[in-house]
Amino acid sequence: MLNYLSKITLILAFGILPFLLSAEPTLDAGKKLFKNNCAQCHAKNMKSDATGPALGGAEERWGDYPKQDIYDWVRNSQAMVSKGHPRAVAIYNEYNKSVMQPFPNLTDEDISSLLLYIDGVYKGVYPPPVPGAAVAGAGAAAEKGTPTWLYYALFGFLGFLALLLARIISNLNVIAAAKEGSVYTQKTLWQSLTSKGVITFALFAAVILGGYTTVNNAINLGRQQGYAPEQPIKFSHETHAGTHKIDCQYCHDGARRSKHAVIPAANTCMNCHRAIKVGSTYGTAELTKIYASIGYDPTTNTYIKDYDKLDQEALKEIYSKWIGDNYLSENEGLEVLDKAGEKLVEAQWGDIVSSLTNEQKKTVQGPIEWIRIHNLPDHVYFNHSQHVAVGKLECQQCHGTVEEMEVVGQHSPLSMGWCINCHRETEVQFSDNEYYKSYEKYHNELADGHKDKVTVEDIGGLECQKCHY
């Protein structure tokens, strides 16, 4: 009987679970879909309007119609409008007849996942709090590898053994001496430890260890692999390069033509952020910094005249108004700022000031001073365009998967050994560049099969003055 029951359970488990997995709309799937498709135009908090309207409560608003209608609406809103669906026409008119991009690839399940996620965020039940996560993580880390205490124990045990052996030898010596009739004066532990031999050994060990540590530290001096400082603006490469798939060189436009990849100017940000004025993650907190740097008034959608000459109080007024107004629009029903709203405005403005000013730069106006992550010593010449335009390397090869980094950090060690290794292994884009025609010998060797590839090293890529001059 028991056997029978368990069989049924097994069948149920294997038969139904896969079905559930594929069809059941999930929050995680919804989150992913939202990031990839919706977040460009719709606010992440589901409460405020961005380019597109706030999505929170959408399902309720479509409650009067069949579920299929909202699915169709998401897939192709214009078709619905032209068919004259009352809800569709109403939304279309409410939002100034702006057209929503069609998403014909989304399945009904996708959309129901999306709606689940939107509802979860809107009602504040997603993301769920995760109690004890930190504890579990610490435990998991400790279990990996050999635990440190084992080394100490082993070390202690061996030391004890050594002392024991020394004592035994000493005792044997005493016995041997007694047998021969002479007197062997036994050294005390202190005497043994301060003997010439032990001191010499200790010094020797100290020098070796010290030297090893010094050399290692010296080699690492100035290297900062993994360096991921907090930036004045919480700019997310994950959102921009990962989710929205903006090409790296759209912003870093120096990479193909200059030695510097170039940190984009604030006006490059404005290409998109004239339209996207409220961020999906931080709302107005971060984007307003760009406006305060360049002098753009998001309330009126105009650049402020003679922005350089405005005093800091005037700036505060302009941007506090914008932050406050946005707060009001997110909190329906509020006419004036409540306590929390005032606090938020104050906090955001304070953050803007502290992010855009420093000891040298006293005013909010002017460039955003980012923290430089990739630093090469002054005696190293590195040229991005050589690697990007000529070598046709992917950015990720040196910078890692930036599109997955919420906070960018230095991926590679940027040490000379790292450069050299790559130059040893990397093949030159040899055949399709007329420039390399002057390497006739290599071309001949490639043709007759003596060489299967020409590496950077072969054309002098390891020589000092390729990078140091």
């Binding site: 200059s258 984009p264 460039p367 040229n383 365009s385 002057s438 002098g460 020589e463 140091h468």
Partner: protein, 1055 residues
């Protein structure tokens, strides 16, 4: 005297004991080294060593313990389209300083001008530059420049606002009775219009124009002869015989870049049988131009008029030349014959500042038919317009109480006017003195209002250097300080309504449209013309037609046939190539640039003649030797000045450079050298650059820091003789022949070494044969090796690039433009006078000057010497840390960061081109406190402040203390050129890779390229039979090729 002998100075001709004892020491005698307090104090013992070790460890620990400093990356707020950070942008502009003119391209990085290049679209210069143009970019970042307007208050100058200044000046001008504006030559047609506008508002205004070094007599003579107050356009390329009376036309006279470029076209020789022009220089002091001449005729300065008169007599008839020395008479008789033979292909120029002399020169040229071929008024030069008699007249007016307001626009008459003393005295009587000046000078110190002007790199402007040629100046950076363009100040004061951010640009544009566009052809609209002119930097237009000069010059000479009376000892004053008459003295690059002939830096030195005693010895006048201090009395003024021996001086003549001894001139001009301007004489109101009332003492002392680089880097070769003693091998060879002079192949203390090969044009065939022999001998020596070069390198350099350089010594005039260009391009530090005297100069490229031929009147050859990038380099083998090694492209690479400063490489370099950073000259060091010199405030005078550091090239490492550096063949440019070619997917061509020295050269003497490119310019040059490699026989396989120096010398000349 053997005509084949070659020497560098008196010390090696004389086998000077002290000199011989130093040739095996890299940094001179113990005396020089002991001179330095630092060396004496740094008697490092074991304890000190331990202290240093401790400090080093401690410092390293601190450095290691510290957090890595946070660096910021600051992007633009709104990025200008034209700027890509990391990519240089070039703007066409013009370098104009008084009458000095050079069309240029300004290289900017991230909006910051860092380097000047020649503009090869210019038909005047063809892309060449001068040392002054190259150095001008540093002036932009001069720490002594004015930061804002100043008004003289009761306690010195007070900073003022422009509004205050304009109000003050406006009130004063309105109340002024007579206004005078003092300027140097103004090349700008629009600036002249500004002055007209100003004069229209204040009708009492008169403009007084003079030049720091006068050419007033030429202008006056041409006015009298032809009714045209201009300097004719000279075509040195079309002349087959060139005679110059004291005119340093390759170095300083009127338009040296243009003239040098033309001159060299007639001087290039590629094979036996080629022709070249003949150049005879009549002068008292060895000028740069004289050093390039085939033949020099030595006269005392007072004999100049007589010499011109004598030649005039020979060509145009009539007697003359009474007091001229017999040697010169004989020589000039021959010269007259040659000139007549050349006819219309002759050219005679003179820098004499006497009107009668210049009229005679006009007559000579007229008689020879030179007008129309070698000279012409159609494209007359406007580069000198001044007349110092106007200043004299101004002084008279002031003394008479008729002038109460003087505006100085750029001019500095309190220093460079020939009677500055009288001028300064008169200034006390002027109520309102306004300076439109860039930085403080002797004249601004007298003024009550200082309206600071922009640097020309911050300015708009134009220039008309020659008739029919226009040139634009455009700003390449926003004004660094609260300054205002001089033109704009004058316009504001004259009440013009100015609008916009750049009001003077609008004014300039309007003026071009109304007055200059009409002269331009090929453009339908002004917009197109303007854009094109702005892009090219140069345009055709402006007044072009000459007045149509009167043929048949006058025989009625102004002021008669005066010939000055001479004396036993005379002094000649000359404008140095570097600092002019003081206008450029505030520029440390020019101060540290060696004089081409005397090879002195930082100040002026009394050039004394060297007398040959007929036997063994060459003795300086009064027994003076290099570095002695002599007491000189000129026209009642007595001063002490260091001495330098100078070959090729006229007997009984001493020379002194102008332009030094500034009393108000910022950090690097004030008090450097002595001011020679008060010693000038004035004849009929015109400045005369000599004085006949001179006495020179014997040695009265020793110059503390004698910063002449002539004997630096001279090495000897040691060997053991049969008795086992170590001797100087050169001396041993000398002993086998005659003592002293006249040894064939005796070259800079090196015997039988191939450094310089001189030849006369006549003997060229034989000389080439001899050169071939020498090269065969060298090849024989070099082949006696286990590693024959050709075999071992056939594989190595056969593909890709193999860089090489060719230097045509017949085209090199020694002007030093390349030296300064190299300094600018490669962040070479300025070290200062004291450091130079200790052999610590840092220039990567030096121009060695050798004399050859007649010891009393020698010929000269200039040899630009930089790292030769030897393919078998002796420096590489001795480096213990492999900091210097060879690239597959034939470059001798220097990795600064690997260098530990043993200096073995410098020791082992046969060309002595490696430089050691003895101190932290550019504050690249991370521990600046660890420097004895800095603490005393003596050793790091320049380049240590952030303003000056803005001139640094960001593509080149700034070297720290304790490392060796040297010429890299501008590897940053090579890499950039290669990258451009790769990006464009094409083969590298010559124009991708041009070194800084190559682009700076006004004559195209330097050719750089890829030896593997068989169609390249370099490969063509390398085919000349005149080529040789310096020190070919020591098998270092250098990559630089020189040519034999050919002079068109006539041995029958006796002068």
């Amino acid at each position: 005297m053997n005509k084949d002998s070659i020497w560098i100075g008196g010390k090696d001709l004389n086998r000077d004991e002290e000199f011989l004892s130093t040739v095996d020491q890299e940094f001179g005698t113990a005396e020089i080294l002991a001179n330095s307090e630092a060396v004496v104090e740094q008697d490092t013992n074991r304890r000190d060593f331990l202290k240093f070790l401790g400090f080093g460890l401690g410092a390293a620990t601190v450095a290691a313990g510290c957090d890595i400093p946070v660096k910021r990356a600051i992007p633009y707020v709104i990025k200008p389209d034209s700027i890509v950070p990391g990519v240089a942008t070039y703007y066409a502009s013009s370098y104009v300083e008084g009458g000095d003119y050079c069309p240029i391209l300004v290289k900017c990085r991230e909006g910051r001008p860092i380097k000047i290049e020649g503009n090869d679209l210019s038909p005047i210069t063809g892309g060449g530059t001068s040392a002054r143009a190259q150095a001008s970019v540093l002036g932009l970042y001069d720490i002594s420049r004015y930061r804002g307007p100043q008004l003289l208050g009761t306690n010195g100058y007070d900073a003022a606002s422009w509004a205050d200044l304009d109000a003050t000046v406006g009130a004063k001008l309105a109340a002024a009775r007579n206004i005078r504006i003092v300027t140097n030559t103004i090349l700008s047609p629009t600036a002249k219009k500004v002055l007209q506008d100003f004069s229209a508002k204040y009708s009492s205004t008169k403009v007084v124009t003079y030049d720091p070094v006068s050419a007033a007599a030429i202008l006056e003579a041409n006015q009298l002869s032809f009714g045209d107050r201009a300097i004719p356009g000279y075509n040195f390329d079309k002349a087959s015989v060139i005679v110059s009376f004291n005119a340093d036309f390759l170095g300083t006279w009127i338009s040296p870049v243009e003239y040098a470029s033309d001159y060299v076209k007639g001087r290039r020789v590629e094979k036996a049988g080629d022709t070249m022009s003949r150049h005879i220089q009549v002068e008292s002091h060895m000028s740069m131009t004289g050093s390039n001449a085939d033949q020099r005729v030595l006269i005392k300065p007072s004999e100049l008029s007589a010499a011109i008169d004598f030649l005039h007599g020979k060509i145009s008839g009539g007697g003359g030349g009474g007091s001229l020395n017999d040697k010169a008479k004989a020589a000039l008789t021959k010269v007259a014959g040659e000139l007549k033979g050349a006819g219309s292909r002759a050219l005679v120029v003179s820098a004499s500042n006497k009107v009668a002399d210049q009229q005679k020169i006009n007559n000579i040229n007229q008689a020879l038919g030179a007008y129309g071929t070698t000279m012409s008024f159609d494209d007359a030069s406007l580069q000198r317009q001044g007349d110092e008699r106007q200043v004299n007249a101004l002084i008279g007016e002031i003394e008479g109480g008729r002038v109460d307001t003087v505006i100085f626009w750029g001019a500095n008459p309190a220093y460079d006017y020939c009677n500055a003393e009288a001028f300064v005295a008169a200034m006390a009587k002027v109520d309102t003195k306004i300076a439109l000046a860039y930085q403080p000078n002797e004249t601004t110190a007298l003024c009550n209002v200082v309206a600071p002007t922009h640097h020309f790199l911050e300015s708009w402007g134009d220039a008309q250097p020659k008739r029919g040629h226009l040139s634009l100046i455009q700003p390449t950076i926003s004004p660094l300080f609260n300054t205002r363009q001089g033109e704009e100040s004058l316009l504001r004061w004259s009440g013009a309504s100015l609008a916009g951010d750049q009001p003077y640009m609008n004014y300039l544009k309007a003026n071009w449209k109304s007055s200059l566009f009409s002269g331009a052809s090929g453009f339908a609209s002004f917009g197109g013309f303007w854009d094109n002119a702005l892009h090219d930097g140069v345009a055709k237009g402006g007044s072009s037609a000459a007045n149509g000069y009167v043929t048949g010059a006058t025989a009625d000479f102004a002021a008669g046939n005066s010939v000055a009376s001479g004396s036993d000892l005379e002094m000649v004053f000359f404008e140095p190539v570097s600092v002019g008459n003081g206008q450029f003295a505030t520029n440390p690059w020019l101060q540290e640039m060696p004089d081409p002939v005397a090879r002195t830096t930082w100040g002026n030195y009394l050039a004394v003649p060297v007398n040959y005693d007929g036997g063994k010895k060459f003795i300086g006048m009064n027994g003076l030797i290099d570095g002695d201090l002599a007491e000189v009395t000129v026209g009642g003024k007595t001063f002490r000045v260091p001495v330098v021996q100078q070959f090729g001086m006229a007997p009984g003549t001493v020379g002194l450079a102008l332009g030094h001894g500034r009393s108000v001139g910022g950090k690097c001009a004030t008090g450097v050298g002595v001011d020679a301007n008060p010693c000038l004489t004035v004849e009929r109101g015109l400045a005369q650059y000599y004085n006949t009332n001179v006495s020179v003492s014997g040695k009265v002392g020793k110059e503390d820091h004698f910063s002449c680089v002539q004997y630096h880097n001279t090495i000897g070769v040691k060997a053991d003789n049969n008795a086992g003693e170590t001797i100087n091998a050169d001396e041993a060879t000398l002993g086998q022949t005659a003592y002293g002079v006249g040894i064939t192949g005796y070259q800079g203390s090196l015997t039988e070494r191939s450094i310089i090969y001189p030849s006369t044009l006549k003997e060229l065939k034989g000389s080439i044969a001899r050169l071939d022999e020498k090269q065969a001998a060298a090849k024989h020596l070099n082949d006696a090796t286990l590693y024959p070069y050709d075999e071992y390198t056939a594989d190595k350099y056969s593909q890709g690039h193999h860089w090489g350089m060719h230097v045509d010594l017949n085209a090199c005039t020694g002007c030093n433009a390349c030296t300064v260009a190299c300094v600018a391009e490669n962040n070479v530090p300025v070290v200062g006078k004291k450091e130079v005297s200790r052999h610590h100069e840092m220039t990567w490229l030096r121009i060695d000057r050798y004399y050859f031929g007649d010891a009393e009147n020698p010929n000269t050859v200039y040899q630009p010497m930089m790292c030769q990038h030897c393919d078998n380099a002796p420096c590489e083998n001795v480096c213990p840390v492999n900091a210097t090694n060879h690239s597959s492209e034939g470059l001798n690479q220097m990795a600064y960061n690997r260098c530990v400063g043993t200096r073995y490489c410098a020791n082992n370099c046969p060309y002595k081109v490696r430089r050691f950073n003895w101190l932290d000259y550019t504050t690249a060091d991370i521990f600046p406190a660890n420097q004895p010199g800095v603490a005393k405030g003596e050793a790091v005078p320049f380049g240590a402040d952030n303003l000056t550091r803005m001139v640094l090239n960001p593509d080149v490492t700034v070297r720290a203390r304790g490392v060796i550096e040297k010429c890299s063949f501008c590897v940053q440019r090579l890499q950039e050129g290669k990258l451009t070619a790769k990006r464009e997917g094409r083969r590298l061509v010559d124009k991708d890779v041009r070194t800084a020295c190559q682009t700076a050269c006004p004559t195209g003497a330097i050719t750089f390229g890829d030896k593997n490119n068989k169609n390249g310019e370099l490969s063509k040059k390398l085919k000349s039979p005149l080529n040789y490699k310096a020190l070919d026989e020591i098998n270092v396989q250098s990559s630089v090729t020189y040519t034999m120096r050919v002079v068109n010398r006539d041995e029958s000349f006796t002068s």
